[in-house]
């Protein structure tokens, strides 16, 4: 292979690894937002799961059990968020920011107290396909949880767009009053959407820890949750474009890390801020509001 092809494969493979946690969490955040919750605590879900996966892997000696523990911790954060904002109607931004602060504080505290080892799930390489030029190594030699995306993305799409549950969920996000009059339990659907979000964001965070890095360090998600929120906005509340946004943000991050080593000068601040700029621009320039769930971030209370 030529040098350019090698460089390309390097950037591509690191881009995919950086995008994968975002993609998992984005599938969750997408569902939560379609149901009407602008879920800022996705950062807490990812960070808590990243810590939980390594901690449980340390206790049990199995990285896979750690991964599952991460998923359930994400779900726990989701259910707390759901209870606070869709049972007791606390503002979703308030709940999200407080949960982020709490999980950041707790994980930073616990990781300083405890002494966690290294745990990583197995790598899978697909025979034959891995030998493809350029694309082979980046796409077909990965830690196995990445391949869950192949099932979870279509499942998320089907759940939201084709299932009865998804229809009710979208109604809860679009027009909760009308949904309520049709006998849909709006706040229940929203809590369920948050649970799904917690599971997937947890998977993303756990993948980051026991999949990619193999250990936990303080604030290891470093704002990836906010990146996911930017991706959903950038994608205009469509699943495909949201995932494209994740891929783009992952690639931008990979370029930021790779380009200086390859001898290019690059404005790293611009690349870091690109996702947030793109999300703001998408809201300003394109008519994303048409696809924006009508009751996004508004709590629903039945009038008595």
């Amino acid at each position: 292979m030529s040098d350019v092809a090698v460089d390309l494969a390097t950037v591509l493979s690191s881009g995919i690894r950086l995008a994968a946690p975002l993609a998992f969490a984005a599938c969750g955040e997408y569902v939560a937002e379609r149901a009407g919750t602008l879920n800022v605590s996705v950062e807490a879900m990812m960070l808590g799961a990243a810590f939980g996966s390594i901690a449980v892997a340390d206790l049990t000696g199995s990285a896979t059990v750690g991964l599952l523990a991460g998923v359930s911790l994400g779900a726990l954060v989701g259910s707390v968020h759901g209870a606070l904002s869709h049972r007791w109607h606390v503002d979703t931004f308030v709940v999200g920011l407080v949960l982020n602060a709490l999980v950041l504080g707790l994980t930073s505290y616990l990781v300083t107290v405890g002494d966690l080892g290294r745990h990583q799930v197995a790598q899978v390489s697909v025979p034959v396909l891995r030998d493809l030029p350029v694309l082979g190594a980046p796409l077909f030699v990965e830690r196995w949880p990445v391949y869950l995306l192949l099932a979870l993305v279509p499942l998320t799409w089907w759940l939201v767009e084709r299932s009865r549950w998804g229809l009710e969920l979208r109604a809860a996000g679009e027009n909760p009053e009308a949904a309520d009059m049709n006998g849909i339990r709006v706040n229940l659907r929203r809590r369920q959407a948050l649970l799904w979000c917690g599971c997937l964001a947890g998977l993303g965070g756990a993948y980051l820890a026991v999949g990619e890095v193999g250990s936990f360090n303080q604030n290891m998600t470093a704002g990836r949750g906010y990146l996911v929120i930017a991706a959903v906005i950038f994608g205009g509340w469509r699943l495909g474009r949201t995932l494209a946004g994740c891929a783009l943000f992952g690639l931008a991050d990979a370029l930021r890390l790779a380009l200086p080593a390859l001898g290019y000068t690059v404005n790293s601040q611009l690349l870091v801020s690109a996702p947030y700029l793109l999300a703001l621009l998408a809201m300003l320039l394109f008519s994303t509001r048409r696809r924006r769930p009508g009751a996004l971030a508004q709590p629903f209370r039945r009038l008595s």
């Binding site: 503002d91 602060a101 709490l102 906010y226 611009l270 809201m283």
Partner: protein, 346 residues
């Protein structure tokens, strides 16, 4: 059963503290030693009290601003970024403008407030033009502000430290001239009463009066409580929300410029100059239920935790404990306040 009042408040604070104590005990530390360190490091002697009061000033400013925006319904959650923008503008003014002596301090503080006020007002503009959620845009702009500061302090023709002789320039600006620094108000043995606290307290009182007693404050509260009714009463909800956002951004920016000029920082613009003051200020406003006067004791409590947190390490308890305590306290105050309001009259 009422869920406010002093007894309820005392009960939830106690619950948060007991939980934190349990956390320490479970992880093998001594809660009593941690509490002693927290108290000793924050109010134990004159030096500790001075340090606590230094932290209280910027926290109070951010929190008072957060009260304004939250009350108007234009919910600003980007204070952390606005603090950074304030510090950035303050550093630019302080290092570039040739203003003599104490007047420079005034210029630095004003520049910080104006820049961050305009920065926050952009969110109101985006909301008005294209309906962009204010909470979302203020949050996203926080990350832009972080990168703007990082860019300014790593770019030689902007604010990066000038290189003298050998050694690479660090990602920070030059030191602010001594005329622009916040000094002590009066000399007391050991106790430093920084001017910043005086400024913050005056601002808090002014905002409290403005919210409670002026036409602007009335309109702002009305727009926040019921935007539809406010619009019918002839109030421009967007303009009122924009002004509230600008004020809350300006106060966060003032806090940022104050951090730059206060002994808390190295008086250089650095990427981490905001030290999470913006996020904490937001939590303080939540605990104080958007009452500017209540933010004064709460900001004091957060300052105690910050100053005391630095002394925790000696007891073997990680200083991150104070972050857990702050989040638990906020959670304890936020949840019941809203549960109380559950019955809704249509």
């Amino acid at each position: 059963m009422t869920r406010t009042g002093p007894w309820w408040t005392a009960a939830i604070v106690a619950a948060a503290l007991v939980l934190s104590g349990l956390l320490i005990a479970v992880t093998g530390g001594s809660p009593a030693a941690a509490l002693r360190a927290l108290v000793q490091g924050s109010v134990g002697d004159a030096t500790a009290i001075s340090q606590t009061l230094l932290y209280a000033a910027p926290l109070l400013l951010v929190a008072v601003g957060a009260c304004c925006s939250a009350r108007s319904g234009a919910f600003n959650i980007g204070q952390e970024g606005q603090v950074l923008v304030g510090a950035l503008a303050g550093a630019a003014a302080g290092l570039r403008l040739a203003v003599p002596g104490p007047a420079l301090l005034l210029v630095v503080l004003l520049a910080g407030a104006l820049a961050a006020g305009a920065w926050a007002w952009l969110s109101a503009l985006m909301n008005r033009l294209r309906g962009v959620d204010i909470a979302v845009s203020t949050l996203l702009m926080t990350f832009l502000a972080q990168q703007a500061v990082a860019f300014a302090v790593t770019t030689p023709w902007l604010l990066q430290e000038s290189r003298w002789g050998a050694g690479a320039a660090l990602p920070q600006s030059n030191k602010l001239p001594s005329g622009a620094l916040l000094g002590s108000a009066g000399d007391h043995p050991g106790l430093q009463l920084n001017l910043g606290l005086v400024v913050a307290l005056v601002v808090a009182l002014l905002v409290a009066v403005a919210l409670a007693r002026t036409r602007w404050g009335f309109r702002l509260t009305m727009a926040g409580l019921n935007p539809v009714a406010a619009r019918h009463a002839g109030i421009s909800v967007a303009a009122v929300g924009g002004s509230a956002l600008a004020v809350s951004g300006a106060l966060a920016g003032l806090a940022g410029a104050m951090l730059l000029a206060s002994p808390l920082s190295t008086n250089r613009l650095q990427p981490d100059i905001s030290i999470n003051i913006g996020w904490d200020g937001l939590l303080i406003a939540l605990i104080a239920r958007n009452q500017p006067l209540l933010t004064i004791p709460v900001a004091g409590l957060f300052a105690v935790l910050r100053a005391g947190g630095g002394f925790l390490a000696a007891t073997g308890v990680p200083p991150y404990l104070v972050d857990v305590v702050k989040a638990l306290l906020t959670l304890a105050f936020v949840a019941p306040a809203v549960i109380r309001r559950r019955p809704v009259i249509a």
